[in-house]
Amino acid sequence: DTAVSQTPKYLVTQMGNDKSIKCEQNLGHDTMYWYKQDSKKFLKIMFSYNNKELIINETVPNRFSPKSPDKAHLNLHINSLELGDSAVYFCASSQDEEVLYGYTFGSGTRLTVV
């Protein structure tokens, strides 16, 4: 019974394409996130939503657009993909925005742009 599930697990696509990654959590958490982990394993926050409201929006190119239709779902759409977008993207959730019980991460989506 997966807590935070994201699809697809792997995504290989050509430069210039548009792609989406979907995320769902069944933990009843209020807050969801997108993190990017680069080839050096640095984990960097991209976006955070609390009850469908955007609360953290890091310096991320406009080509990245998150969307939260409800508090259990947070999707990431990427336009005009570039080589530098290749990374592992993790969706995560926390009970609330204070993160007192840590993040629960999804299994990640490995995006390769060729």
Partner: protein
């Protein structure tokens, strides 16, 4: 500013101890610790909320020195299952509860 972890990598034999440090250039209000096994998602280990706080989780414990702006993770009598990359996540009390992850420490435990 990304917290700096040391060492960058460590190799241990089963049963040995290790200490991983996480240092920030900014004041810290809370610290998380995570372990990420190869090809998997990071898994939350513990949170430290107050300066001077120490916590334990099986044979893994941590301390938080607010004044020194650092936290340390202690792994005692390491097991093969402890192998992975350890990350600290720090929050500077900005009000956004935005945790910034450290540079990571790769730990490998050998039989």
């Amino acid at each position: 500013q990304q917290p700096v972890q040391s060492p960058q990598a460590v190799i241990l034999r089963e049963g040995e101890d290790a200490v991983i440090n996480c240092s920030s250039s900014k004041a810290l209000y809370s610290v998380h610790w995570y372990r990420q096994k190869h090809g998997e998602a990071p898994v939350f280990l513990m949170i430290l909320l107050k300066g001077g706080e120490q916590k334990g989780h099986e044979k893994i414990s941590a301390s938080f020195n607010e004044k020194k702006q650092q936290s340390s993770l202690y792994l005692t009598a390491s097991q093969l299952s402890y192998s992975g990359t350890y990350f600290c996540g720090t929050e500077g009390g900005s009000g956004t509860y935005k945790y910034i992850f450290g540079t990571g420490t790769r730990l490998k435990v050998l039989a």
